[in-house]
Point group: C2
Chain length 248, copies 2
Amino acid sequence: MRRLTIWPVTGLPEVRAGDDLASMIVGALATDPLLDHDVVVVAQKVVSKSEGRVVALSTVTPSERAIRMGEEAGKDPRALEVVLRETRSIVRWERGVLIAETHHGFVCANAGVDRSNAGAPDSVVLLPVDPDASAARLRDALRERTGRDVAVLVTDTFGRAWREGHVNVAIGMAGMPALLRYVGQYDPEGYELRVTEIALADEIAGAAEIVMGKLDRCPVAIVRGLGMPSSEHTAQEYVRPKEKDLFR
Amino acid sequence: MRRLTIWPVTGLPEVRAGDDLASMIVGALATDPLLDHDVVVVAQKVVSKSEGRVVALSTVTPSERAIRMGEEAGKDPRALEVVLRETRSIVRWERGVLIAETHHGFVCANAGVDRSNAGAPDSVVLLPVDPDASAARLRDALRERTGRDVAVLVTDTFGRAWREGHVNVAIGMAGMPALLRYVGQYDPEGYELRVTEIALADEIAGAAEIVMGKLDRCPVAIVRGLGMPSSEHTAQEYVRPKEKDLFR
């Protein structure tokens, strides 16, 4: 019987550019070491910080477009300029809300640029340049330090169409499947299953968020018991091409 | 430190109309009884079956609209007729995919009507008429039989805009919050938190799905360790009114 256990990794120090996240996580886990096939879920913000993806707004010169949008919405044009630089295309700009497709292909508010918990005044944190690569590097570093073959998810909390509330999702991953495919499988009456792909890594990201919280500076959680052999996938498998998307 | 444990309830018999789900769950849990504040996550399908929300297609006379749509998409007009009856408004009808707003306000494929695992040939299963009431009834029945104050989620797997893959979400609930609100809370630098509402029950529904699976007829899971006092909420809190929704 499959039994999942999920707990937060507490006691991590504040993360700064250049920090070795793997060592910090291994250190914080001292009394409860990683096992093979654990999933290490890490909030995007600490990955971004360790990679120096923090921008001081005083260094940003807003474009005319950002100035115009800032006037429209009563928002800081320098922050909007950073958002526009992270944006591949604007999906919605209405009522002061900017829903953007990022250069990675994710659709989210402000292209993932966020001002809270930046660790520095008047600064914003961007998503990692390549969150899958970030996850793969962290996975390799954890294996080097512990000898364990774990999966890693880099996550962020995204809003949704139609439903209130944000959920944590995987924006980068290494070592486990993004999607569980039921294509071509049949129920006992012989009908092909309607739900053909379960977004497993997103569901794990959400499960980890429950113990991570937002305020308590707990950006890492461990999920144990998935019992899944390691496999190579990326969060790009979640990106629905625009031409297949009924809602863009 | 918060530690969540999640496991499937195995050995439940096939559920039929009129079955007492609470007794079936309590029976299946015999060696691992419920505790106060456990969350009992139940797949919509068994709730619907116990409530008799199964329709034999042989009893359905399709409307002209359903016949026309069936011809357009090469689909069974009787099944489309049932979907249309469960639909408050059609959000998209393209390429044979029907995304509908249900009478409850949920936006999902085929208004939640599903042919797989119906338990009878040529039949479809509908969502419960009032999934919050279903959850509340099950919660009361579980309390009566065990003396425990648990929360109950009734869940279904929904597709999403922009992202591939389905996730399990709460369509009915009792005894716990739908949303965790961070409105008016500040990070250590004094910035108000961007993510102001976490869809907690949806994240728990997704976490439970990981152990429930689709094929193994395991429609119930227990989530323990949330450590949250009981409170009265409904899954209607997830319904974003159309006039607030940028994607309808």
